[in-house]
Amino acid sequence: MKNIEKIAFQFPTTLAAALRLQANEKTRGKLLAGGTDLMVQWASGVPTPERVTSLWNLPEISAIRVLADHVEIGAGVTHAFLVDCQPLRTHVPALVAAAGTVGAKQIQARGTLGGNVANASPAGDTAPALLVTDGTVVLASQAGEREVSLSQFWTGYRQIAARPDEIIVAFRLPKRGKARERFRKIGTRRAQAISKVMAASRIRVEKGVIVSAAIALGSVAPTPVRLTQVEQFLAGKKLTPALIAEAEKLAQTTVQPIADIRSTAEYRRWASGRLVRDALEHL
């Protein structure tokens, strides 16, 4: 019998029941949504947990709500569902683009937004697109709900600011309004490839002047990062070719990427600048 067959599975049918299980150490299980990260890890020999709490199809965390100035996306929403949601293309287009680059169709049909965020890989495709919205993560436990800013949610390599008794229930993301968004992923091939570098941006220009700029990169640091220095440099300035060239250079000097099996530090540094240029040239 395979190790995964020895796991005790729990299938709560409501969020309240799931939170009850997670509140008590004796019933708490490893959370499992679409399993596209965990099932792979378990198949490759990562030790399996004793218990699993399945969140797949849990209704309370599987909806998308479009509200006056923000959208609320359930943690259990799959990438496929997200990509098919027309209003999200209007309000958070970079996130829709990012979800559309996760794996391929089969992976998007099972992989969830909550799983991508909680897995906390620096190469998680949706992370930069979430970061540029200045949104929050909604966490629930039996003690109630709390909101954590996305910019404070990834605390280190594969670390998140959630307690063991907490479940991510949703993401509250301000709409882009008049800002423009862009997402670019650089990988070895278009599908089924983890990124070498990727960028998301949300930039607002009025009468040729950058009013606000949010730019985030993935795969260049232990966590997804905002390019705060570049953002501050851009704010209030006139969008000119010279400014774009300077922003590109600044991005290249502020990132500290590492070399690994997917790319070299030099390439990542160079590509980071090119992605900032790309974002500014498409405004």
Binding site: M1, K2, I4, E5, K6, I7, A8, F9, F11, L32, G34, G35, T36, M39, V40, A43, S44, T48, V52, S54, W56, N57, A80, G103, A104, K105, Q106, I107, A109, R110, R190, A191, Q192
Partner: protein, 161 residues
């Protein structure tokens, strides 16, 4: 370990399975139910050889613990698709275009092609490439597979007119 009993609509028929909740759908299909059309190649979701439709969506059966598929789930494997008129049109197009070499990836390819044509009867080349991006073939170089999907789309469009 926890055993679960689940009753699904598998290839149009009601089927009840009893298995450890963490058993992979692929193992239940192949080893418990004898449906060996779905292939195992990479076992980690990359290659698509084990693709099946779960409630009309293509998924890799090597990454699904059966406990997560509730009663009433509709599952369509290559065996079920091969019995459908549209499935046979797709298979025939693969044969005529020479899209099959060793054949190991083909069940998954046909399942993904079927899912695409159900949703999008007139797919662009880009849409075909997107739909099949999760199915890897080490023999053909994909060109003839894409031709086959186009041929199948044309034939299916004629039938429904």
């Amino acid at each position: 370990m926890s055993n679960v009993t689940r009753t699904w609509k598998l290839n149009g028929k009601s089927v009840t399975v009893r298995a450890p909740a963490g058993r992979r759908l692929l193992d239940v299909l192949r080893d418990d139910l004898g449906l060996t059309g779905s292939k195992e190649s990479c076992g980690e979701g990359e290659c698509g050889a084990c693709t099946v439709l779960v409630d009309d969506e293509p998924m890799v059966s090597c990454l699904i613990p059966v406990g997560q598929l509730p009663n009433g789930t509709e599952i369509l494997t290559i065996e079920g698709i091969a019995r459908k008129a549209a499935g046979r049109v797709i298979q025939q197009a693969y044969i005529e275009c020479g899209a099959v070499q060793c054949g190991f990836c083909i069940p998954g390819m046909v399942v993904s092609s079927y899912a695409l044509l159900q949703r999008n009867p007139k797919p662009s080349t880009r849409a075909i490439r997107d739909a099949l991006a999760g199915n890897l073939c080490r023999c053909t170089g994909y060109a003839k597979i894409i031709q086959a999907v186009k041929l199948a789309a044309t034939r299916l469009a004629k039938r429904t007119r």
